[in-house]
């Protein structure tokens, strides 16, 4: 893929400007054309790709140029006089996660723990390629006796005395096992003066070069390109301006306590305080992008790449698991060589979005010759407070970010067990296996196998494009799957606005209160609390909500406060839910806001309470259909089935798995938040294959019988319930659902039911339920024969 690109925003208001950042690696030029995205599924059995062209001054031919991503996180402290030490002591704790690298690993070489060193000049602490700690003074290297152990705390320190020329390196594991060799300090006479340049002091890397070429300054802060990225945690780094004794080094672990004149000295003692250059405290400003120096020179640094913070330190006791309650035990930052917060590419061209450009899904389509093509999608919305239709579709931007550039199909070999067939990879999947610098998704683990907490949209996202089939479904997924819904709305002649998760999260009720009905996408799984608050308020005030998919409202997401609106999201995968990785103990709280992460269910917001149904099972081989239940005949909801016979198979067709009920499935459960008056109107119970399995959070004891042909909760339930003040919610409860809408030229029972619901929900004024339907309902009353029989085993 020689063309890749991104826009500075995914959602833009009419009248605003959007900038495009393009990498064109090879062709001398490329063409850009604005298109409206209607349908992106290339399946020849479906309607095919629909992308009407839109006239725009931005359309045209642009000069191509290569732009690259410098991934890897680090802290950068600008050059300063005190950092140009003659003699020195460096010390910190490390918890390395990749002391050695596999042959062929994409970022080979040593790892710099902290260094003001480049091209044989300067000083720094490193991990050499064999996993041993080293001190580098100019072109001299002293190496520890033994390599470090991965995922274990080690205290390391190094001194250099410029007068005597003597250097000493300490490597002291915090835990030793019975048969571990006993490490001893390594001493060596080096002689000479430390040579200094104007390079910054770097933590978790070292300066490779200064990029003075085109775009160098924008590529990295201050134009510095950092190399030799480190993988792992660093805690309590210190720099002193003389060679400390081992006892003084021990004392210096106390760091740079603020001086109080007559109260106490700066640093561990007056004597030692006088030697202190910098003592960085990573427990400060955990939600920010700075590292704070508690030393006398205020040598604060800038964090680049957004590493993981709120990480347990070498002294974590486990007595507190929230970094806000014990910050002193959270003095570690976990750096990764594949962290990406912002590609920082230069702008290639801009688009002034006309005030009269209809709200819709758009993309800037980039092409170079016949072989190179890349789409940069974005969503155009009305100005805040203006509602240009009765219907709005909420595009799941938080979810597109969660899945951004995922590598599961190629990283996690046994992901094949999920979908019961051999995965079919697309060109973007292969590109990402080589181009690791494009970063990860919330479904990936970093190269060091730690979970990916952060995801940025300020980079090309290769699976956020039309025409993309996911290996997971062998069909569109997330963004491209949501175009199934957009296409149906267009073809059925509905007028609608397009808004996004980001808009609902940041603008709250003001973004949605004027619409009669809101539709979600096929898979609204990842949401922040502001989004849920806004939807809740909307429903309570008479709004209507159509939940067009499944696995909704599952994970707690936050937007990082130190980046532009909606640019970076965070997740922590804690003790429950379907998790491709687990957060480590003590690291369940988001660095973005300090609050507990994980499933919304386990912080008190039941999934089922948002739209009436909640995630119950998943499987990705093939899909099936629904059948109506007797509750579909209830006058409260029977209007939804007008024109549909009771015995019809609902959705025994579709572009996702060949049926409307598939991929991920939600059920009604009044004990898990489904309102007690929910009507379960259709279900796929008993119709799935054994590739479908119950989700982990629905059972406490692993036992046989969790699969599609055996477990009664492996099913999708269509459901309806009323909300106060004339509102209502309809849940379709399957990710595959929208893929069935276009079948038979849009004339099918799924299309019919959906339009019956939408036509009713888009009406002005409150919806009135039939009379005499207001009765007291308990949560278990719906099936007393089942629920009051007693416990299992009676």
């Amino acid at each position: 893929m020689r063309l890749t690109a991104y826009a500075d925003k995914w959602t833009v208001q009419q009248g605003e400007t959007l900038s495009f950042h393009v990498n064109c690696d090879g062709p001398a030029e490329y063409d850009a054309e604005l298109v409206r995205l209607v349908h992106g599924d290339t399946n020849p059995l479906g309607p095919g790709v629909k992308e009407p062209r839109v006239k725009s001054p931005a359309n045209g031919t642009y000069a191509g140029r290569q732009q690259v991503i410098h991934s890897g996180s680090y802290a950068l402290v600008p050059d300063a006089g005190p950092l140009r030490v003659e003699s020195m002591t460096l010390q910190c704790w490390i918890w390395p996660t990749m002391p050695t690298k596999a042959d062929g690993y994409w970022k080979p070489g040593p790892q710099a723990i902290m260094a003001k060193w480049s091209n044989g000049r300067g000083y720094g602490l490193f991990l050499e390629e064999d996993g041993r700690v080293s001190l580098r003074i100019n072109d001299h290297t002293i190496v520890s006796q033994f390599p470090v152990r991965d995922r274990a705390w080690h205290f390391i320190a190094a001194t250099y005395d410029a007068v005597s020329g003597s250097a000493t390196l300490y490597h002291e594991p915090q835990i030793t096992y019975a048969l571990d060799p006993v490490p001893a300090p390594v001493e060596q006479d080096l002689g000479g003066s430390i040579e200094h340049g104007d390079i910054p002091f770097v933590i978790s890397g070292r300066i490779d070069r200064r990029d003075s070429g085109q775009g160098g300054v924008s590529h990295q802060p201050m134009g510095w390109i950092v190399g030799d990225h480190y993988n792992g945690k660093i805690d309590s780094p210190r720099l002193c301006n003389r060679a400390l004794t081992r006892l003084e080094i021990e004392q210096m672990k106390l760091g740079g306590a603020a001086g109080m004149d007559e109260g106490r000295s700066l640093g561990p003692s007056g004597h030692l305080g006088a030697a202190l250059v910098a003592a960085w405290d990573f427990s400060e400003e955990i939600s920010g992008c700075r590292i704070v120096d508690r030393g006398p020179y205020r040598l604060d640094g800038q964090l680049v790449g957004l590493p993981a913070r709120g990480m347990t330190g070498h002294n974590w006791s486990g007595r507190e698991t929230d970094w806000r309650r014990a910050p002193g035990e959270y003095g570690a930052i976990h750096f990764h060589d594949d962290d990406v917060d912002d590609a920082r590419w230069d702008v290639d061209f801009s688009l002034d979005v006309p005030a009269d450009l209809p709200s819709a899904v758009y993309a800037m389509k980039l092409t170079a010759g016949d072989d190179d093509e890349y789409y940069v999608p974005f969503f155009v919305k009305p100005p805040l407070g203006q509602f240009k239709a009765k219907i709005a579709v909420i595009m799941s931007t938080t979810d597109y970010m969660a899945y951004a550039n995922e590598h599961l199909g190629t990283n996690a070999g046994a992901a094949e067990l999920l979908f019961y067939r051999t995965p079919i990879m697309q060109r973007p999947n292969l590109f990402l296996t080589e181009h690791r610098e494009y970063g990860n998704s919330h479904y990936d683990v970093h190269g060091d196998l730690s979970g990916v907490h952060m995801s940025s949209r300020l980079r090309p996202v290769l699976n956020f494009q039309p025409k993309y089939d996911s290996w997971l479904t062998q069909a569109p997924w997330q963004f491209n799957a949501d175009l199934h819904l957009i296409d149906w709305l267009v073809e059925m002649g509905y007028e609608f606005d397009v808004i996004t998760d980001e808009d609902v999260s940041y603008d709250g009720l003001a973004r949605i209160e004027g619409y009669n009905v809101l539709l979600t996408g096929s898979h609204p799984e990842h949401k922040d609390g502001y989004y849920l608050d806004a939807i809740h308020a909307y429903k309570e005030r008479g709004g209507r909500f159509m939940y067009m998919g499944a696995d909704g409202f599952y994970w707690r997401q936050t937007f990082h406060p130190s980046y532009p609106r909606g640019a970076v999201t965070e997740i922590r995968r804690c003790e429950s839910g379907i998790r491709p990785w687990h957060a480590d103990p003590g690291e369940y709280h988001h660095q973005s806001d300090g609050r507990l992460g994980g499933m919304w269910r386990f912080v008190g917001r039941q999934l089922h309470s948002v739209a009436g149904t909640g995630m119950a099972a998943q499987g990705f081989d093939i899909s099936t259909y629904y059948k109506r239940t007797v509750e579909s005949n209830d006058p409260r909801v029977s209007w939804a089935f007008e024109g549909v016979e009771y015995d019809e198979r609902l959705g025994d067709f579709g572009l996702v798995g060949g049926g409307a009920a598939g991929a991920e499935l939600d059920t009604v459960d009044t004990t898990l938040g489904s309102p007690p008056h929910t009507l379960l109107v259709a279900t796929s119970a008993g119709l799935h294959t054994d590739a479908y399995l119950l989700v982990t959070e629905l059972f406490g004891i692993n036992a046989a019988g969790l699969n599609g042909t055996q477990h009664p909760r492996v099913r999708a339930d269509m459901a309806y319930h009323e909300t106060p003040n004339g509102g209502a919610v309809f849940a379709f409860s399957s990710i595959a659902y929208c893929g069935a809408l276009s079948h038979n030229g849009y004339e099918n029972n799924i299309s019919r039911i959906t339009s019956n619901v939408l036509n009713r929900f888009m009406q002005d004024g409150p919806l009135r339920p039939p009379e005499d339907t207001a009765v007291a309902r308990g949560r278990l009353e719906s099936d007393p024969e089942l629920n009051y029989q007693g416990t299992v085993g009676d």
Binding site: T410, L418, T624
Partner: protein, 149 residues
């Protein structure tokens, strides 16, 4: 772990079941080793993994293998959307791209599914995962990233 039958007749029978699924599911955006109510439909799955315990267990053992098992886990690569597919092998090293196993080009994505199964029957030993197969990986299952890495 479950043994993969080495008997030619048994293997051929399993392969025939997979090939039959390929025929049934041609045109379906998805795949499973099952029969359905008619060709081109995913509806009313039966047979295959739903009924054949031996085949299901063999398939699960193959699917659960690690990325670098037997020269690299086999995948299918779409080389021309909706028209051409090839078979490749994953590597277990980040930054090293999958490599195509040969020059064959499939004109239907489901056909490649059957061929991958045939190749795995050839490559996988009958037995694995028993005490006599111990290696250091028994101590380090790797990341919990949906299976072995």
């Amino acid at each position: 772990m479950y043994k993969i039958p080495q008997d030619n007749a048994v293997q051929e029978e399993m392969l025939e079941t997979v090939r039959s699924s390929v025929e049934m599911l041609r045109g379906v955006a998805g795949f499973s080793v099952v029969d359905t109510e008619r060709p081109g439909s995913a509806i009313e799955p039966h047979g295959g993994i739903q009924d054949d315990m031996q085949l299901d267990k063999v398939l699960i053992r193959m699917r659960a293998s690690s990325l670098d098992a037997y020269g690299g886990k086999l995948i299918i690569v779409c080389t021309k959307p909706d028209e051409e597919w090839r078979i490749a092998r994953l590597t277990s090293v980040r930054g090293v791209a999958p490599t195509f196993v040969d020059e064959r080009v499939f004109s239907d994505e489901q056909d490649a599914q059957a061929e991958v199964f045939r190749m795995r029957l050839e490559e996988f030993p009958s037995e694995d995962g028993m005490p006599e197969h111990f290696h250091q990986g028994y101590k380090r299952p790797g990341a919990d990233n949906w299976g072995p890495v």
